[in-house]
């Protein structure tokens, strides 16, 4: 019968472009070579088994380079796959009927003079779960979400993206870095992100020379916890989020440095680098408390810079924090004052920085103060009285 083992690698490539008919032709051809153009008149020469190169990289599919979903295997190549699709389709139809029935029930409950809120909540939860379950098994839906073409207005796609963020390592990496760098007890008592926050800073072109050369146009994704150069962080970052709720919610953006030295108390204090409150009239994030670039002082160990997106329960009007109030900023008191600590969720990100040759420029141009230099206090010379004197007289 069909030499399925030979056909399959070719069926992969052909199914993507052509219809089922062409593949059937290829499978019944005498020569198992990829070319189908051999006519019946030509003699069929026994050809060497050509080894096709194995694709090791993922194909470049995204919203910018979109592609239509095609069946990975044509009909008949793998009967189990066809049966699976049938099972999934039947299950989806049953679930969609249930969804319709539930929607009717919810509408009827809402129309009653005194709707039972608890029952409504239960019904709505069940509706959400059923909506997701009715479509989550379809290979085309999963393929689209896996290749960056998710439609955020659909509950299924949102669910798939959230599962990917939570289970495939991105959230775990962020939380690992946040906990290992002790951001959690130092800045906030607990952080449980509910949205994917990504921060992009300009790429470093070259590290050699007095000051590192930083690209002006190319921004690169920052992995949480890595070291950045102060030259890269002079301009505010490009912030991208993926939220998993369809309705609009308001968040407050906060950028903190918990390792700002406090000379008078010989300890560290928190410094506020950036604050932005929603809603803002302009999409510019620099309209509230302006962004001051990170300036880790010479002689201090590395500074951890944390960006937080705190969920607001309503519209807030917060005064701009004055420049002299940025150092010694109390995050917990601020959150309690404006009710930001009541809600769970939000986003977080952090990176680290250490003094480099770009920091004096920040002090000179932006802060307009003298650059401090930290170090240990000079020790009193024990033997100062005896230096230079003759000892054995």
């Amino acid at each position: 019968m069909l030499a399925l083992r030979h056909v399959q690698p070719r069926a992969l490539g052909l199914a993507r472009r052509s219809t089922t008919k062409q593949v059937a032709l290829a499978s019944t051809a005498v020569d198992t070579d990829g070319s189908q153009s051999q006519s019946s008149g030509e003699p069929v020469t026994p050809q060497k088994k050509q080894s096709r190169a194995i694709r090791t990289r993922r194909p470049r599919i995204s919203l910018q380079h979109p592609r239509e979903w095609n069946r990975p295997l044509a009909f008949g190549v793998l009967p189990a796959f066809d049966e699976a699709l049938k099972v999934i389709k039947e299950d989806s139809i049953v679930l969609k009927d249930e969804v319709k029935a539930l929607e009717g029930a919810i509408a009827r409950e809402k129309e009653t003079p005194q709707p039972d809120q608890h029952a409504l909540l239960v019904l709505e939860n069940k509706l959400r779960i059923l909506e997701v379950q009715s479509e989550i098994n379809f290979p085309q839906v999963r393929w689209k979400c896996a290749n960056g073409m998710a439609d955020m207005s659909k509950a299924v796609d949102r669910h798939l993206l959230e599962q990917r963020w939570r289970k495939e390592g991105a959230l775990d990496l962020l939380m690992e870095r946040i906990h290992q760098m002790k951001v959690v007890p130092d800045v906030l008592p607990h952080i449980h992100p509910s949205l994917d926050l990504r921060v992009n800073f300009p790429k470093v072109k070259s590290n050699t020379g007095l000051q590192a050369a930083v690209s002006k146009a190319v921004y690169e994704h920052v992995e949480p916890g890595v070291f950045l150069l102060p030259e890269q962080t002079v301009e505010p970052p490009k912030i991208y989020t993926t939220v998993f709720h369809p309705e609009e919610r308001l968040y407050t953006l906060l950028m903190i440095d918990p390792d700002f030295p406090d000379e008078t108390n010989q300890t560290f204090q928190t410094y506020l680098h950036w604050l932005h409150v929603s809603p803002s009239p302009v999409p510019n994030l620099n309209t509230h408390t302006a962004y001051i670039p990170p300036h880790p002082q010479r002689g201090t160990t590395y500074h951890r810079y944390t960006i937080l997106l705190l969920p607001q329960h309503s519209r807030l009007s917060i005064h701009m924090i004055a420049k002299d109030k940025r150092a010694g900023f109390d995050v917990r008191a601020f959150m309690e004052k404006y009710g930001l600590d009541r809600n769970v969720g939000g986003g977080a990100h952090m990176w680290r920085e250490v003094w480099s040759e770009g920091v004096p420029a920040v002090y000179k141009d932006i802060l307009k103060t003298a650059e401090p230099k930290f170090g240990r206090m000079p020790k009193a010379d024990r033997y100062g009285d005896f230096r230079g004197k003759r000892r054995y007289v």
Partner: protein, 188 residues
């Protein structure tokens, strides 16, 4: 001058067709007469030409092609996996629902029995001790031999009978045991 046309054979006639083979050497190794020496030499001077993939090694160029033949499409594999788990979930839900329905029926029946006749209800709720022996059994056991006593004690009501024949595709080789008689266990 004699020219020998026959190939001179150093081996005796009987052993000419038999080739002596030493199992202490691997392919490509020169075999000495002492297998111990061969082993020692192999461990002192291990081969350092790495041109074969091994399951425990780090160089495995053959894996990608083998995987591609085994799993031609990851998408198809995941779809089949999901469909199978979905099917199993449906079966599980059906079985659980049926069990629940049976339990509810039983519970309803017991409630009604309680209302109708409380004595029968109490009887129905009594826990049965599967190892309990009735008076008739105890009397019968007094006149039994040790193996028979053990046989009676080990047969508990509700368990599979020990003599149950496991169903097979084909009949037994030794035919049917026509003379077999069931062990008589005195019941209450």
């Amino acid at each position: 001058m004699s020219v020998s046309f026959l190939k001179s054979n150093s081996k005796p006639f009987q052993l000419r067709g038999i080739v002596a083979r030493l199992y202490s050497t691997r392919k490509g190794e020169v075999s000495s007469s002492d297998p111990q020496k061969d082993t020692i030499r192999r461990y002192l001077y291990p081969p350092n030409i790495r041109n074969k993939a091994s399951p425990t090694g780090t160089w495995r160029p053959d894996v990608a092609r083998a995987l591609q033949r085994a799993i031609p499409s990851v998408q198809a594999h995941e779809t089949i996996e999901r469909a199978w788990l979905l099917h199993q979930r449906h079966l599980r839900k059906k079985r659980d629902a049926e069990l629940q329905r049976k339990f509810n029926c039983m519970r309803q029946a017991m409630q009604e029995l309680e209302e109708i006749d409380s004595r029968l209800f109490r009887e129905a709720n009594k826990q049965e001790d599967p190892r309990a022996r009735s008076l008739a059994e105890v009397e019968a056991m007094k006149s039994m031999s040790e193996p028979e006593k053990r046989a009676v004690e080990s047969r508990v009501r509700g368990l599979f009978p020990r003599e149950l024949r496991i169903p097979t595709d084909t009949p037994p080789k030794n035919g049917w045991p026509n003379e077999w008689r069931a062990f008589q266990r005195p019941l209450a």
